[in-house]
């Protein structure tokens, strides 16, 4: 595996008043890996991720994403990353094509590039029949695949996916992970949060966050060995239970 670090997180902390959402976490992500970022609801995953994508300022500590400091060069970070939030965030009242044009446009793609990318994307996702339909009318699974593709429009070095498969049927989830693998194969780094432990098994390395801290970080295989269990599900339960 490529050992070139693309994300370096050093003692990153976020406090909201007296509540510490992210408590002094440090880790590295390597170029081209699929990095699983796990944790129970409220463990601080989304907060940590928001600091990495430059929309939330760390209280202390720092992180370097794609060579840029998230504190001082947030806008440079944003040029190098793609982001897909857990809430569907395209415009329901625009068509698929219009959404692609808009997001391509604000990432600075030229009209010609947008045209080419749009055609490619619609073909890849088999959306020819609905390309001029409003996005709001699409089934959730399609929406998620579309958001992922749109997050990749500007060919970012890293893509952050926040619970991309929440509420999606198993077949679509499978297809979604095939898309993730294909993208990783091209050398893109994928930073994924999820609640599905079978998905955690697909990741190259997994970190598990518990109450604002990273309790474990290794490959799924090593983690299972370390905790002497058969599945990532059990690893997760063991760590989460220790707390209670």
């Amino acid at each position: 595996m490529n050992q070139e670090k693309i994300i370096t997180v050093n003692k990153l902390t976020k406090e909201f008043g007296s509540f510490t959402a992210v408590n002094n976490i440090s880790f590295d992500v390597y170029k081209g890996e699929i990095f699983g970022f796990l944790g129970a609801n409220g463990a601080g995953k989304t907060t940590a991720m928001k600091m990495l994508i430059g929309i939330s300022k760390p209280t202390s500590g720092n992180a370097v994403v794609a060579g840029f400091d998230v504190k001082t060069q947030a806008e440079m970070v944003k040029k190098s990353i793609g982001y897909m939030s857990q809430k569907f965030s395209m415009y329901d009242d625009l068509t698929i094509k219009e959404n692609i044009t808009f997001f391509g446009g604000i990432y600075g793609l030229s009209r010609a590039q947008i045209k080419e990318k749009t055609a490619q994307l619609i073909q890849d996702l088999n959306l020819e029949d609905v390309a001029d339909k409003l996005v709001g009318a699409l089934p959730l699974g399609w929406k998620q695949k579309l958001s992922f593709s749109v997050a990749l429009l500007h060919e970012p070095k890293i893509v952050f996916l926040d619970e991309p498969t929440g509420g999606v049927d198993p077949i679509t989830r499978r297809q979604f992970w095939e898309m993730i693998y294909a993208e990783a194969h091209k050398g893109t780094t994928l930073f994924v949060t999820t609640h599905y432990m079978d998905e955690a098994e697909y990741c190259d390395r997994v970190s598990i966050m518990v109450e604002g801290k990273i309790e474990a970080l290794d490959s799924p295989k090593n983690l299972k060995q370390k905790y002497n269990v058969n599945s990532m599900n059990d690893v997760f339960l063991k760590l989460a239970r220790n707390i209670e």
Partner: protein, 374 residues
């Protein structure tokens, strides 16, 4: 620049695709303009007039005929006793009771003086004031006429009575047409309302549906996003103004003495102020409802303190000071000055300067309060 075009393009698409919003933006303001301009009048007509004539003389009948001849009064009833009349006033059936005493004519001829009693229903203080003036005028004219008659009867000579007659002349709206006065003002309110509400709900809407977060993760620059977002509403504001001006001309025949370009120039800057205010509200709200309520709060204060419905000069000093911060006040002043008085740029430089400064301040605050990072 290119990025801004993409945003503008998207905003216009969303505006025109929203079938519920379109009529709200274009049709409602025009209906309001047509209805309000006809309804919002300070003129008082159809005053419900009643009288008690204890005298039944030629003089008393002549006085009553004066009221009958006036367009403002509508004779409702004649009562025999004051009690009867009071009862009707309590029921709200009459506004005015004129009581002519017995010996009215006799006293006039003998003593050259007499008294009349007038009761006015003053539940609505403003109307009562106006009614009082109307009545005094009628009685005043009657008085002059009767005086000259009496003088002639008595002395049988041709002494011309020395009467002083004031002829008021109303400048800039010499027929005192309330529509001429109200239409530009109401148009200003509509332009302000629509742009303020739309812009204040716009960014908070993206916050609500979650697209704002997605936008914040892109390298888009603050000013690009804000200009792209607000430009469509700036255009909409100018379109509404245009349609309103056309209606003002065609339907209400409001004169346009000044330079039309001056109105547009001023509106262009004024709209920036309103959009900045809307954006500021939007940035500080979490939901569209919240933004709507805050906008309404300001809107109601702005409307009532704009000088459109009540003259600013008659407000207490502290309230007059507050109106200095009311953008609508300046806009109403300017539009009336330019349309009705033919004011030129040199006449409105003060207002122009205030509005420009105000716009710069508000937009700076708005841009500063929009944060991509929190």
């Amino acid at each position: 620049m290119k990025t801004i075009l993409f945003i503008i393009h998207k905003e216009f698409k969303q505006i025109f695709r929203n079938k519920g919003m379109l009529p709200i933006i274009f049709v409602l303001p025009l209906i309001q303009l047509l209805i309000l301009s006809n309804a919002a009048s300070f003129e008082i007509q159809n005053i419900k007039f009643s009288y008690i004539d204890h005298d039944h003389s030629a003089a008393s009948r002549e006085l009553i005929s004066k009221f009958q001849a006036s367009k403002s009064f509508k004779i409702i009833n004649q009562f025999n006793t004051k009690e009867e009349a009071n009862l009707e006033m309590q029921k709200g059936n009459v506004d005015i009771i004129l009581e002519i005493p017995t010996q009215f004519e006799r006293n006039l001829i003998k003593d050259k003086t007499t008294t009349l009693s007038v009761s006015i229903n003053a539940i609505d203080g403003a109307s009562a004031g106006v009614e009082n003036v109307y009545i005094s005028q009628i009685i005043g004219t009657y008085n002059q006429k009767i005086q000259s008659q009496l003088l002639q009867y008595k002395d049988n000579s041709f002494v011309t009575p020395q009467n002083i007659i004031t002829i008021p002349s109303f400048w800039y709206n010499n027929t005192l047409n309330y529509k001429t006065y109200m239409v530009p003002g109401i148009l200003v309110l509509l332009v302000t309302m629509i742009t303020l509400f739309l812009s204040s709900m716009n960014i908070v809407r993206e916050k609500e549906i979650g697209t704002l977060e997605q936008i914040n993760v892109t390298p888009i620059q603050k000013h690009q996003f804000i200009i792209g977002k607000l430009f469509p509403f700036w255009i909409l504001g100018l379109v509404i103004l245009t349609v309103g001006l056309i209606i003002a001309k065609l339907v209400f025949n409001v004169p346009m003495l000044g330079n039309l370009g001056l109105i547009y120039g001023f509106t262009a800057v004024y709209l920036l102020l309103i959009l900045g205010m809307g954006l500021f509200i939007s940035n500080h709200s979490d939901t569209q409802q919240q933004a709507m309520f805050i906008s309404w709060f300001f809107m109601v204060i702005f409307i009532l303190m704009s000088g459109l419905f009540t003259p600013i000069e008659s407000m207490p000093q502290w309230a007059q000071n507050i109106t200095l911060f009311n953008p609508i006040r300046y806009f109403v002043e300017i539009v009336r000055m330019v349309m009705l008085k033919g004011a030129t740029f040199s006449d409105i430089t003060t207002q122009f300067f205030i509005i420009t400064t105000y716009a710069v301040v508000l937009n700076t605050l708005a841009v500063l309060s929009y944060k991509k990072v929190n």
